[in-house]
Structures are given as C-alpha cells and as structure tokens.
C-alpha cells in the first residue's frame, strides 16, 4: 500500500509519518485501546455482527498514505497557584494537562521540563480548555469542551493516567474559575451563553447552584472567565456568536453576530441580569478574545486576543468602547494566536500561552513589541504546528488540490 502511495503521490512518506503511525498504533494498544475494545465487544454482543460487516468487504486494515498531525502537545489555557509555585497548562492535542514549576524556564532550544503530564482515559481529559487551581484544597481542575462535558480535578502531585474526580456539566464548557470567598466554581458555556455555578468539590451529576444567562446578560459565545474575589466580580470574554436556535428547537428567531466583548457581573448575580460593565467596540481591538485574567492589586484586566495576535490590558473598571491601556504585540513578543493569560503578582509577571508550543513570561508592565523574560516550551524551539483543535470535518478543493480543515 505504501508502495502505491509512493508512486501516485510522487514522494515517499517521511520518517516522521512512519514514526507517527507507529505512535498511533502504540496508543491504540494501551489502556485507551482496551477500553475502546470493551465498548466494541459490548456492541457486538448486543446486536451488531462486525465480523460479518467487515468480513465480506473489500479494503480492510489499510495504512494511510499520509497523515497530517502534530506529535507534540499544543498549549491552550493556563492556571496558576503562586503560593505553591505551580503552573498548569491544558493541551487539546495530546489531551493532557502539563504541570510546571513557576520558576521553570526554557532559554535553551529544548522543551521545558514538566513536573507531570496527566493523560489517559482515567483522566477524562479530551478537549481540555479552562484550567483553574484551588490552593485551599490543593486541586487542579480543567473543563472539557465539546463531547467532554465535564470538569476533571486532580490533586497536586497527580501524574500519568490518574483517575480524575469528575463533574458532569453542560455541553460546550470553556472557562473555569474558583472563588475562595464563596466556595464556588464557575464555568462559561459557549453553546447557551451562560456562566454556571457549582459548589466547589461538586462531582457526579450534582446540580448547579445558579447561572447567569439570558438576553440581558449580553453574553455571546463566552470563553475565558476570571473571578475577582477582592472586588466581588466575575468577568467573561465573548467571541460574539449568539444563537438560541442552537439549543432551543422551538425558537424561530435564528442566530446573530455581535461584536466581541468583555462582560463583567456581580459575582453573586443570578438569572437574566445586565452586566455591571461591558467593554466592546472598535477601539477595544477585541478580536476573538479567548482568555482573560484580573490583577486586583493594580486594577487591570489582561486579555488574550487570539486573532489579534496580541495581549490587551484594560483598566479593571473600564467600560464601553475604550482603548486598552497597553498592548503587547509584535515579532519580538513572539505572541501568535494567544489563548490565555495569567498574572503572577508574586513575581510581577504576566504569562501568555500561544496555541501551539510556547508560553511566554513578560514583565507585568510590558508594552508594545516587548521581549519575553523567558519561555516555557512543550517542543523544541521552532517546531511548527499543524494547529488542529478539533478537526471534525474536511473538504477537498479540486481547483487548488488542497484539503480544507476547520477547527
């Protein structure tokens, strides 16, 4: 089969492809594969006769000619516990959590040494998005977007295929934050424009305590969130996509788009309440804002402005169509497709994760095309990335001989 591929594609699959294929096969032979096999066996016993399905068909167990895939983790969202010196970053590609010491650095060209990588079927980790740490309970938690539908929590020190403590949550969860004051956990839900609240430590199918949702909230496809325990506020960044029709089949009003925004609420709000403040408009530069963090000491908000390839700093109390106080952007900053931000006020730094292979640590007051103080890397410097997030669908462009793949 590979020989045929070589003839028709005018090129031999590279060593990387063959290595990737081996890695995939090894993966399927692990506990992941065993659990999948258990499901398959149950289906066969139920009413499917897969021996017959596959037995009479042509084709079969064929190797691919080509695979496009990134064999490294891809950083997504960052969580931090400055008191215990931990940084935790979610990874949607390998479906893992990477744990680093807060003073770790990778000023060489190699990957940064991680304290732990939590990964495997017992972890429930899949499309890992929002990360939050709870220093009081010494727990690190992550929420799973798409068909994950959960918050998975692990004790500090967890590693490998560690059995998670899990909570079922609505479909499309993204941001995650804790309140030590209210002993609650908050999640943003993209698909039905809400922030939903649970008791800290909730597991199983425990019911939510409350939610902020409805047209008056002005939320539309909320992503990252922060909880400001000092000022009793909770904030969310919104991509601006809105559709009640998505989740309400009796709703005939269709969907709409609105400009991206930051919506800030009282942290005890409930129901269809208007935000205390909204940052939105042309001057804000918001462009697919995905991550957000608050600095209650210096009264600032940082935003990972994904499609703007920038980090925007606003006054914590800003409102309306306002310009950022500072913008970090440019080739020296190395900020490309930033997904999340976090303040480390103990070291007066601002952390930024790119979707891909690097996180950067800046001086908290950095501005313009600033150079990072140091890097955290999950792959050797310069490693490219295919950049898949959730490659669900595909098309073939016959005019240009190209594959078209959305995230």
């Amino acid at each position: 089969m590979v020989e045929k591929c070589r003839q028709r594609t005018k090129g031999r699959p590279g060593k990387g492809i063959l290595a990737l294929g081996v890695a995939l096969l090894i993966g399927l032979g692990t506990s992941q594969g065993r659990l999948g096999t258990a499901i398959a066996n149950a289906q066969s016993k139920a009413h499917f006769n897969f021996a017959k399905v596959f037995g009479s068909a042509g084709g079969g167990n064929l190797a691919p000619c080509r695979v496009i895939s990134d064999p490294y983790p891809e950083f997504n969202t960052i969580g931090m516990d400055t008191k215990n010196g931990l940084v935790v970053i979610s990874d949607t590609n390998m479906k893992s959590l990477l744990v680093y010491h807060i003073n770790e650095a990778s000023n060489s060209s190699g990957a940064t040494r991680a304290i732990a990588q939590i990964k495997g079927p017992a972890t429930y980790l899949s499309y890992a998005t929002g990360v939050a740490l709870d220093p009081a309970r010494r727990m690190m938690c992550v929420t799973e977007n798409d068909v994950g539908d959960d918050v998975a929590c692990f004790p500090y020190g967890a590693n490998g295929d560690y059995k998670a403590s899990v909570l079922a949550v609505p479909h499309g969860s993204y941001g995650l934050a804790f309140s030590q004051r209210l002993h609650q956990m908050a999640l943003s839900i993209e698909h039905n424009e809400q922030i939903i609240f649970y008791r800290t430590g909730a597991t199983g199918a425990e019911l939510p305590l409350r939610s902020i949702r409805g047209p008056h909230t002005q939320m539309a496809d909320p992503h990252g969130i922060y909880w400001d325990d000092v000022n009793h506020e909770i904030g969310a960044v919104n991509h601006g996509n809105w559709s009640q029709a998505y989740w309400d089949v009796d709703y005939n009003g269709g969907g709409h788009y609105q400009p991206p925004s930051i919506t800030i609420f009282a942290d005890n709000a409930k129901g269809d309440v208007p935000p205390l403040r909204v940052i939105q408009g042309r001057h804000t530069q918001l462009n697919w804002p995905s991550g957000i963090a608050v600095d209650p000491v210096h009264n600032e908000i940082a935003v990972a402005n994904t499609a703007g390839h920038s980090v925007l700093i606003f006054s914590r109390t800003a409102s309306g169509d306002v310009k950022p106080l500072r913008v970090i952007r440019g080739p020296h900053s190395k900020i490309v497709t930033p997904m999340s931000v976090a303040f480390d006020l103990a070291h007066n730094t601002l952390w930024v994760t790119n979707f891909g292979h690097s996180a950067m640590v800046f001086d908290r007051t950095a501005e313009g095309d600033a150079t990072p103080l140091r890097f955290i890397r999950n792959a050797p410097a310069g490693t490219r990335t295919a950049g898949f997030g959730n490659p669900y669908t595909i098309a073939y462009d016959s005019k240009r001989d190209e594959l078209i793949v959305p995230n």
Binding site: F54, G58, D221
Partner: protein
C-alpha cells in the same frame, strides 16, 4: 475550543506541517464547532456551517487571513438551528444543508445570502431521521443522501434533539431521498441495521454509484439537556471520554447507491493499521483515487489511496 480557523493544506502534505492558508478572526464570522465544510468548484467557494450562530458562511476559494465572508445565510426565515453537513449541487444550483437539531434537510439556492427561506425542506416523522450529521447530493441519479447519528423508531414522538435525545430511537443510517422530495416524506431507501455496522454515521460523500461515509460507533449521550439547564434524568456523571478511548468498530464504509436495507458495506477502511481512532469528516478525490478523513481523537487528517473504492 481553540481558534476556529479554516486551514488549507496541500493534498500531498504530510507530517507536522502548517496550513498554507488560514481564514480566521472575528470578521470571518466563523465559530467553534464547524461540523460541515464543503468546496464548491462551480462558484469557487468554501462554505462552512456555524452551529453557534445558526449560520452558513461562504468565502471565495483561496481566501487567506482575516477576510469577510462573501455571503452569510442567517436569520429567522432560514430555519437554521444546528447546521452540520453541507453539499452543493452545481448542476441544479442548490445548496443542501443537514440540520442536526431540527433533523431537517434544508435546500437553498446556491447563491442564497442573508435571511433566506429554504426552497425545500425534508423533515418529519415519516423521514425517520434524527440527528442529521452529513449530507451529499447526487445530481446524476437525482438523489439527496443524509447520514444520521440516530433514527426515530416507529411510533416515536416527533421529538428532535432536545430533551428526548436518545429516547425512542434506533441506530442511525444512510437515508436516500429523491432530490426534489419536499416535506414529511419517507426515504426512497434506507441503509441501516446490524449488518451495516452503523450505530452512528458522521459524514457522507457521493461519487457516481458509490456512497462513502464515516461510521462512529462510540456511544455518546450528553449529560445535560441541550439547553444546559440540568442533567438529564438518570445522569450520574460525565460521558465516557470517547475521544481518548477510541473504538475499533469505527470505520469508513462504502456502499452502492442502489443499496437498501441491512446491507454490509462493499468496501471498508478499518483496523489498527489505519491509525484512526475516531473518524468523522470525509472528503474524496476521485481523480487520484483518494479518501481523506479527519479524526478528532488523533487530532489530524488521514489520506488513503484506494482507487478500487471508486
């Protein structure tokens, strides 16, 4: 859960390569969860379905960067809820959309723009469709083909995706309708049943007398109601982490366009050598005899050279 870009790769690309073009940014009106994309050679357009905004967006072929769509189909008249699969009929100048939530097939003019009503809708109890995930159109045989993750069992209520999801349903399959069918009509043919191996079908393509589809047999039940208010009755926790476990019974299957009933596929791509864990998207290049697959578990695309399947 990441940047919802649309990336383009050379067909012969392999390994850890970056896209040669990428459409991204607020101006594009792209959302996460693009569960359908198609290329229309007739108009040289890329069309994407955007469930989180109940919209369809169209870009000129070869678009790159932060560009506005040339057309957006969105609004109350469109009857769009969760558009997933897309297909363009270049012969009859029509756009066919499969809506997962309403379980309707919606047909629009191929140049539809704005708040436009569909010119035909296939949907209702008689169709037996539930959870349409992919559509294809066969102008040669005058057919529309839809694949579903489930199908309504006889006597099931007219419920759609919402609170009744996974109740009174049977496994999904391949539904074949006359292209001009309209309203609550029975399919002309249905490929489904234990011998087909289809518990849930994901996406579909058609070429001459062959139907190509991805089959995902890992059971998935969302823990909450679709509106996200409360866990479903009987829910005890999150679903099995299907993306990390994979399922050896997932496969790519090829059937004849004339098949009907509980018919095994005539050609499959299946097994550990494929490297796939959970195939979902499918595209085909008949000229080179290739099938292209996306797999969210692995996080990549797979190209198979299988001229014998065409």
């Amino acid at each position: 859960m990441t940047d919802p870009r649309v990336g383009s790769f050379a067909r012969l690309a392999a390994g850890n390569v970056e896209p040669i073009r990428s459409i991204y940014g607020t101006i594009t009106k792209l959302t996460r969860v693009a569960h359908g994309v198609t290329y229309d050679p007739g108009r040289d357009e890329i069309l994407g379905s955007e469930p989180l905004a109940s919209s369809i967006v169209a870009f000129k072929g070869g678009s790159n960067g932060q560009v506005a769509p040339v057309r957006v189909i969105q609004g109350p008249k469109t009857q769009l809820h969760q558009p997933w699969g897309l297909a363009v009929d270049d012969l009859h100048h029509e756009l066919v959309v499969g809506d997962y939530a309403s379980s309707n097939i919606l047909v629009y003019p191929w140049d539809a723009n704005g708040d436009v009503a569909p010119i035909r809708i296939i949907g209702g109890l008689k169709t037996r469709m539930r959870g349409i995930s992919g559509v294809a159109v066969d102008p040669e045989h005058n057919l529309i083909i839809a694949v579903t993750s489930q199908s309504r069992s006889p006597g099931a209520e007219a419920g759609v995706y919402g609170a009744t999801f996974h109740t009174n349903v049977e496994p999904g399959g391949i539904f074949i309708f006359d292209r001009l069918a309209n309203g609550d009509v029975a399919p002309k043919a249905f490929i489904g049943g234990p011998d087909t191996g289809i518990l849930g079908a994901k996406q579909v393509q058609v070429w001459h007398d062959r139907i190509f589809t991805t089959v995902s047999n890992t059971p998935y039940t969302p823990p909450y109601d679709l509106a996200g208010y409360a866990p479903r009755k009987g829910c005890t926790g999150p679903p099995v982490p299907i993306l990390t476990v994979g399922n050896p019974n997932d496969f790519v299957g090829v059937w004849k366009i004339t098949d009907d009933g509980d018919v095994p596929p005539e050609f499959v791509i299946h097994g550990p050598n494929t490297g796939m864990a959970s195939p979902t998207g499918i595209a085909i290049d008949p000229q080179d005899g290739e099938i292209f697959i996306t797999d969210g578990s692995v996080g990549g695309t797979f190209s198979f050279l299988v001229p014998q399947a065409f």
